[in-house]
């Protein structure tokens, strides 16, 4: 009778699809996968937080970071700070990459500097030395300021902290006062003094004096 009962119980009892051995193996697999995914999640969180912390500390903010040819290239970086007189300045670029030889130097593509004395300075290429706070611009450097003066040259070294700009290549300029050409130039005293040297040529428009009528 008991054999029949046992068969009937088996008939009604839910069939166990896995044997005890198989069930143990399955839980080991699940436990391993759970650990793997948790580890991956922790690592990616760490990378993200680490890159944000790095950019906050070094004053650079970047929307995305590419890590090609083992050099970190920052897209749309922004370097901000204050010059010697406390005036804020912001250097932006389309991308920036640390110089392999000297990590203090950041190589910039399409850098632009907004700053009180020269207004806006932009160029296709530049280098920002964070240690000396000097921005060197090359190729087609354009300086425009709020008075409407527009200078064009192929080189400018901006001593951002000292509010000083030095250029050793020829410069041409045009604006409300007139036109100018010179072999080299230097902007000093926060823009109050500008010295042009070598073959200086200017054309002034002596507008009619205010007659006060």
């Amino acid at each position: 009778m008991s054999a029949i009962a046992a068969t009937q119980e088996d008939f009604w009892a839910p069939k166990r699809r896995l044997s005890l051995e198989q069930a143990r193996k399955r839980s080991d697999l699940v436990r391993f996968l759970r650990m793997l995914f948790t580890t991956i999640a922790a690592i990616s969180a760490g990378v993200m937080i680490g890159s944000l912390a790095y950019s906050v500390i070094s004053g650079e903010t970047a929307s995305t970071i590419d890590a090609g040819d083992n050099m970190v290239t920052m897209q749309n970086p922004r370097f901000s700070g204050r010059d010697a007189t406390g005036q804020p300045y912001v250097i932006t670029a389309s991308s920036a990459k640390r110089n392999g030889a000297n990590p203090a130097i950041v190589e910039l593509v399409s850098p632009s500097l907004d700053e009180s004395i020269t207004g806006t300075v932009s160029a296709p290429r530049g280098e920002f030395d964070q240690a000396t706070q000097q921005l060197e611009l090359f190729d087609d450097v354009i300086m425009t300021d709020s008075s409407g003066m527009r200078f064009s040259t192929t080189h400018a070294r901006l001593f951002v902290q000292e509010n000083r700009v030095v250029g050793v290549q020829p410069l041409t300029g045009e604006g409300p006062i007139g036109k100018i050409r010179a072999d080299s130039y230097e902007i000093l005293d926060g823009g109050d003094r500008v010295i042009f040297k070598g073959n200086v040529w200017t054309e002034l428009e002596p507008s009619e004096p205010d007659t006060g009528e």
């Binding site: 020269t118 300021d145 003094r193 042009f196 200086v200 054309e203 002596p206 004096p209």
Partner: protein, 157 residues
């Protein structure tokens, strides 16, 4: 204006220092300024501009933002002022925009063709082209001296 003709003034020099807050531009070394048919050559030329007041509630910022019209030109060193029919030399020349006159002082020599006038002070009214030479001293030999070369009449040997 440096000459009866208005228009831009072209200036060449070895160096130029532009002082924004003082509304001043200082040209140094082989200075050559030309406007129309008039020319000034000198060692140093200082241009004083009218000060331009900033717009309401704004500060002048940027190179040349505080600079208005040309107010005065001051030439120093060996100053030469040349027009097609007159050359003048002196140690200091001041061109005043308001009354349109050039005042040349210091060992002034004026030549027109072959005629020469020597004195201490030359005042040129640019618009009318009238020039006045004067001397500081009344002593003999130190007053205004003139050499006029008259054309010889035909037939006189």
């Amino acid at each position: 204006q440096l000459s009866g003709q208005s228009g831009p003034i072209q200036i060449e020099a070895d160096t130029l220092e532009f002082l924004d807050k003082q509304s001043k531009a200082i040209y140094m070394g082989n200075v050559d300024a030309i406007q129309g048919d008039a020319r000034i050559r000198t060692d140093k030329l200082t241009i004083l501009f009218e000060e331009k007041q900033p717009a309401e509630g704004q500060a002048n910022s940027g190179i040349g933002s505080g600079v208005g019209a040309v107010k005065q030109l001051v030439a120093e060193g060996s100053v030469f002022y040349m027009t097609p029919n007159e050359q003048a030399k002196g140690n200091r020349g001041v061109y005043n925009y308001q009354n349109d006159t050039i005042v040349l002082t210091g060992d002034v020599i004026v030549t027109r063709g072959e005629n020469v006038i020597v004195g201490d002070r030359l005042v040129i009214e640019v618009g009318s082209g009238k020039s006045t030479v004067s001397a500081n001293s009344k002593k003999k030999g130190e007053r205004v001296r003139t050499v006029l070369v008259t054309e010889e009449a035909d037939g006189e040997e």
